[in-house]
């Protein structure tokens, strides 16, 4: 077991070495991506700011609090994009017939997928961290030991939720050739519906975002806890916000189980 972990650790280190070297090779691309990501998130935040100039209260949330909500999502999402982005390439590998190579290598299939080298720039992560620091100061969140202990766990949990949902969609490609549309809808739901406190939505949407596609655990529930807000979407205890790491793990386990079913099915029909 220890030997096995050592091999994984070694592979993972090599993988990051290649990534960093690639990123250093394409420094100009990095700058372009940085500008690109910056403008994307800036337009989203400016839109929120303008709305809150005209309508000062979004169900009791003001702009700094909304910025904190946004930055929590962005942080989790950018960690997912940094660590697990390549899972989104699975449908393409399957379609192109390149997926079979993971079966002939002596390593876990999913581990092989997430260690496929590619161009990863930390642009979104850097922006997310900066925004998070700013929004934390600005919204007056108290930085106590709850914050220091739980924020990293919550962000990792949120990244796992994101990853799990992407993994489920990628797994669907073992049955359906084209899952781009599905991926796109899930992405859009995530981007647009995490922007506002879920308490403004209708009951059905709140339930979907809590239990079916639990994006609300990426930012809404933790934000209500740290901003000392009453949780008025489902009238749960604000402490639910601390459950994100657990929810993330459960999501990941379920998604992984589905992935294994998909892998067996894929091998079963003799591709």
């Amino acid at each position: 077991m220890a030997e096995r972990l050592a091999i994984w650790g070694d592979v993972y280190r090599q993988y990051w070495r290649i990534n960093v070297l690639t990123a250093l090779e394409y420094r100009a691309n990095f700058l372009v991506w940085f500008g690109f990501t910056f403008i994307y998130h800036a337009t989203a935040l400016i839109a929120l700011w303008i709305i809150l100039q005209e309508f000062p209260s979004m169900n009791g949330w003001n702009f700094p609090q909304m910025a904190f909500l946004y930055s929590l999502w962005m942080l989790a999402h950018s960690i997912n994009n940094t660590l697990f982005l390549t899972v989104g390439d699975v449908p393409e590998h399957v379609r192109e017939g390149e997926f079979d190579r993971v079966f002939v290598r002596p390593l876990n299939a999913l581990f092989q997928i997430i260690t496929t080298p590619q161009q990863i720039f930390p642009d979104e992560l850097i922006l997310a961290l900066s925004l998070f620091v700013l929004a934390t100061i600005w919204s007056g969140v108290t930085v106590d030991w709850w914050f220091v202990v739980f924020i990293p766990l919550i962000v990792m949990g949120g990244a796992l939720i994101d990853f799990a949902i992407n993994l489920v969609i990628a797994t669907c490609s073992f049955w359906f050739v084209r899952v781009d549309a599905l991926r796109w809808i899930a992405f859009q739901l995530e981007q647009e519906f995490t922007r506002y406190p879920i308490s403004i939505y209708t009951k059905g949407v709140r339930l979907v975002l809590t239990f079916l596609l639990p994006f609300a655990f990426m930012n809404y529930f933790p934000a209500t806890f740290f901003l000392d807000k009453a949780e008025d979407a489902l009238h749960l205890s604000p402490f639910v916000g601390l459950a994100t790491p657990l929810v993330g793990l459960v999501c990941f386990v379920l998604a992984y189980w589905f992935w294994i079913i998909g892998l067996n099915k894929y091998q079963g029909v003799g591709h």
Partner: protein, 273 residues
């Protein structure tokens, strides 16, 4: 003209109608994408309904736009985006990438007109989608229908807005004559257009200090002008002014388009394709 130009021929519209028809049918084959775009449109209509409802319920309503107006505005904006989000002249960029634009120049056709007919076919297909989308959206939200004269002005302004967007995209695609890669720039322009064009938030909600500036930008001519006519925020006595501004942008971009196309085309011919 250069030596590769085709022998003079009487101009006929027929091949261009055919290009448009082929593009229309090509778009119609992506059935799954059609369902997705309508589905995601409906999700957003519902999202905007919830957001505006919550905002109007808890704040002093702005005097110039009621809740019903805001919901109508967002829904019509989303329906318009089915057509306006199309990059009609993407073919220029694609053909510059794979080099096939060189052979297009040898064909006895007017090349820009060929690109425009292809884009028109694509856009016509997507404008057909507006009808089912509208029918389904009407199940989610109540959409106000303005009186016929306002509706007429809206459609005219929508057409002008479409032309502004078309020419802006044409210019961007022509930049590929020099840089080949323009995808990132195009996405950025799209995001900025959505925000400063008033697709997401009506421009009358922007802080007063910026409004004069933002209304003077060409982005406002794409979405905001037709939409504000639709919800009655721009009254009939202001039609000449706002429509005139749209026409001005069309004229400016048309002139730039002609110059950039000539310069770009010369580049292809000089380099030998």
């Amino acid at each position: 003209m250069t030596s590769i130009s085709a022998p003079p021929q009487r101009f006929s519209l027929k091949p261009y109608l055919e290009f448009a028809r082929v593009a229309f049918e090509r778009e119609a084959t992506y059935r799954f994408e059609v369902f997705t775009s309508i589905g995601s449109l409906l999700v957003r209509v519902y999202l905007f309904r919830m957001v505006w409802t919550a905002l109007y319920a808890q704040n002093v309503a702005p005097k110039d736009l009621s809740l019903q107006d805001a919901i109508t505005y967002s829904t019509v904006a989303l329906l318009m985006s089915l057509v306006l989000d199309i990059d009609q002249t993407r073919l220029i960029h694609d053909k510059l990438h794979d080099g096939s634009i060189a052979t297009d120049f040898m064909k006895p056709i007017n090349v820009p007109l060929y690109f425009f007919s292809d884009g028109t076919g694509e856009v016509l297909f997507h404008s057909v989608l507006i009808l089912p989308s509208l029918a389904l959206a009407a199940l989610i939200v109540h959409i106000d229908i303005p009186p016929p004269d306002v509706l007429g002005a809206f459609f005219l302004s929508f057409l002008f807005g479409y032309l502004v967007g078309l020419l802006m995209n044409f210019i961007l695609n022509c930049i590929a004559f020099w840089t080949l890669e323009i995808h990132a720039v195009q996405l950025i322009v799209t995001w900025i257009t959505d925000l400063l064009g008033g697709q997401i938030i009506p421009l009358i909600f922007f802080p007063l200090a910026f409004q004069g500036f933002i209304f003077a930008l060409p982005f406002a001519a794409i979405y905001s002008t037709p939409l504000l006519i639709y919800v009655g925020s721009v009254t009939p006595e202001r039609y000449p002014e706002v429509l005139g501004l749209q026409v001005m942008w069309i004229a400016i971009f048309a002139v730039i388009s002609v110059f950039i196309w000539r310069a770009g085309a010369r580049r292809v011919v000089v380099q030998g394709g």
